[in-house]
């Protein structure tokens, strides 16, 4: 038994290190100004896919990412950790996509990838925390979905069993393949890079990246198929242009505001005993406590 698994991986700005120039005037994200990382929950998703491949060795795990040229970094990172192939969907037609336009583009690319048994993605991306792309891709492809997965417990030729963790408990669901699964951060962490694979895939490149390197490299690249990261633009996928990019995005950003809190008149105290006791007495007197 072997499966075709697509893992959706997004390159995201590291929101822990966001600066003030993070947003452009039109309300979209200025990605160039930020350090970029592999969306954390997409690594959990990749691990679930690799575990299926461990069990069923003929399985193919393909990573698909939509983003700018530099998003090829996440594809290489995935190859280092055990994925088989990388696909990048890139081009200005996709710019300004909200989650619906993103899902449409991803679903068109997946259709082109042939028969797929499972799509595994992260529950949500840390730049927006929307958690919408997975279910929307599933809907576009007519796949059922299991969200908030913590573990893919079992797969057979026709079925998949998944344990999911939600706010108040756990649920085990069994459904038919093909299936889309979104994976929680509470799932098993992704295995680390494998040194041999790093050596092997270090020079894997997309067509755009290839243009930037010297011709000496060309011959070597041509001879080694595994170094080819597939890069598709809008013209490579079957699509209706009105569903792509800004025109395919029903949500518009009306405005953004910096948050300024109106400072309160506060009482300033130190850890001094008399001051703490004074405060407690005030709080008791005005019935806040006691």
């Amino acid at each position: 038994m072997k499966f075709n698994i697509v893992v959706l991986a997004k390159q995201v700005p590291d929101t822990k290190n966001v600066g003030k120039d993070a947003m452009k005037a039109d309300g979209t994200v200025n990605r160039a100004a930020l350090p970029a990382i592999f969306n954390p929950e997409d690594l959990n998703a990749l691990e679930q896919a690799l575990r299926i491949k461990d069990k069923f060795p003929g399985t193919t795990v393909s990573l698909l990412s939509m983003g700018p040229v530099r998003a090829a970094e996440v594809l290489r990172e995935g190859l280092y950790r055990g994925a088989d192939k990388g696909y990048l969907l890139s081009g200005r037609e996709f710019a300004g996509s909200d989650s619906l336009a993103t899902s449409y583009a991803l679903s068109c690319a997946i259709r082109k990838m042939g028969k797929v048994d499972m799509i595994i993605c992260g529950r949500q991306a840390i730049d927006g925390d929307t958690a919408q792309t997975g279910p929307q891709v599933a809907e576009k492809l007519g796949f059922p979905q299991i969200t908030y997965a913590e573990e893919i417990v079992d797969v057979t030729e026709k079925t998949i069993t998944v344990k999911r963790r939600v706010e108040r408990g756990v649920e085990v669901l069994k459904g038919k393949l093909p299936m889309l699964v979104t994976v929680n951060g509470t799932a098993a962490p992704c295995r680390p890079r494998n040194a041999k694979r790093v050596m092997k895939y270090k020079y894997a490149k997309t067509a755009s990246e290839l243009q930037a390197v010297g011709t000496d490299y060309m011959e070597f690249y041509e001879e080694h198929d595994y170094l080819h990261l597939v890069e598709w633009g809008a013209n490579d996928i079957e699509h209706d242009p009105k569903w792509l990019g800004l025109s395919g995005s029903p949500t518009k950003v009306k405005g953004i505001e910096n948050v300024v809190f109106t400072a309160k008149e506060s009482k300033k105290l130190t850890a001094d005993d008399a001051e703490i006791e004074g405060m407690i007495k005030e709080l008791i007197a005005n019935h806040t406590i006691g």
Binding site: Y148, V172, G175, P250, N258, I280
Partner: protein, 339 residues
């Protein structure tokens, strides 16, 4: 036609708080838009749903009552909503930003090509000017949420697509009965017209749902700890203070991520929203995502060894000092002065 509708989340026959909160907000917005407030319940044995939601001002309640619709699975609930929305064309639809709403919402919005904004912290009605198309839209839903790692709040609109959909976390909106005697209309849907047999592909093999043991949202006093507490061990003094004052312990995401306390205690944009009588922030710096979940507390005490911590700007009492020193003193002087 073109009303505002709320998807009711139901567990064991009880409508979830988050749905009642959305009805409360929805009632106000529907008044402003001069349209009806509607609700839809999908599940099994829904006879008692009406009496739970009518006091919140629901004009029309749709019931999709069928044994196969409980417990929740994605496809049949999505089919009911998609087909119902095609029929009644609501202008606005709300769901809780729970694991159910966040599973269902995107699926429905994709099928209808309507936009969806997750985790809104405020919802308002207003106008929108599309400068490029030179078009002005009246009475759009402003979907307001903190975006992008904080520091900014974005207002999102869906000018052309309907329904305008949004999810909101539990506790963000207030829950308030409109009129205890209000009675709306019930309309039972012929479920077989809304779902197909293929929708029932998912088998629920096991299900353990627990009632939440913690009631942080309802606590009048919250003692919240942040990364500055340093350890799970140090959090014990916060439990002592909370016990002494009759409150609950909350935490920042950094404290939860560090494993000091369980995730259920997280307060903020991705945790619960609280508005207690008294909020004591101990070793919390006060980033926007945290403040989003507690700024409406009636009184705020900030204990921080950094006199310039952002939390201090919204605090009523700013205590500049170490938590290890201040918290035990608060316990001591409360015991001494209370009777």
């Amino acid at each position: 036609m073109n009303n505002l509708i709320v998807y009711l989340e139901i567990e064991d026959g009880i409508v979830a708080d988050v749905s009642l909160e959305l009805l409360t907000k929805g009632r106000t917005l529907a008044d402003e838009l001069k349209c009806n407030l509607e609700a839809v319940a999908i599940g099994y044995q829904l006879d008692k749903i009406g009496e739970q939601v009518f006091p919140y001002g629901v004009d029309m309640l749709y019931l999709a009552d069928d044994k196969r619709l409980s417990p929740y699975t994605t496809l049949p609930h999505a089919s009911v909503l998609v087909n119902l929305f095609k029929e009644i064309k609501p202008q606005i639809a709300f769901m809780g930003a729970t694991s159910v709403g966040r599973d269902l919402g995107p699926r429905v919005s994709s099928a209808l090509f309507s936009g969806l904004t997750a985790d809104c912290t405020a919802l308002e009605i207003g106008t929108y000017e599309d400068r490029k198309a030179r078009k002005t839209y009246e009475n759009l839903l402003y979907q307001i949420r903190p975006a992008f790692g904080g520091n900014i709040v974005a207002t999102i609109v869906n000018p052309d697509c309907r329904p305008q959909m949004a999810t909101v976390r539990e506790g963000v909106m207030k829950k308030e009965i409109r009129d205890p005697n209000h009675k709306g209309t019930v309309k039972k849907l012929d479920v077989s017209k809304y779902v197909s047999d293929e929708d029932f592909v998912m088998e629920v093999i096991e299900r353990h749902m627990e009632k939440s043991k913690l009631n942080i949202k309802g606590a009048p006093i919250i003692v919240a700890g942040g990364y500055g507490m340093g350890s799970a061990e140090n959090f014990k003094m916060l439990f002592d203070l909370a016990d002494t004052l009759g409150g609950e312990v909350g935490a920042s995401r950094a404290a939860v991520d560090a494993g000091f306390v369980e995730h259920e205690r997280q307060i903020g944009q991705t945790g619960v929203t609280v508005r207690p009588k008294l909020y004591i922030a101990c070793g919390i710096s006060g980033q926007i995502q945290h403040i989003a979940g507690m700024q409406e507390s009636s009184m705020i005490i900030a204990i921080n060894n950094d006199a310039n911590a952002p939390i201090n700007t919204i605090a009523d009492y700013v205590i500049t000092g170490n938590v290890e020193e201040v918290v035990p003193k608060m316990i001591k002087y409360y015991r001494k002065n209370s009777k």
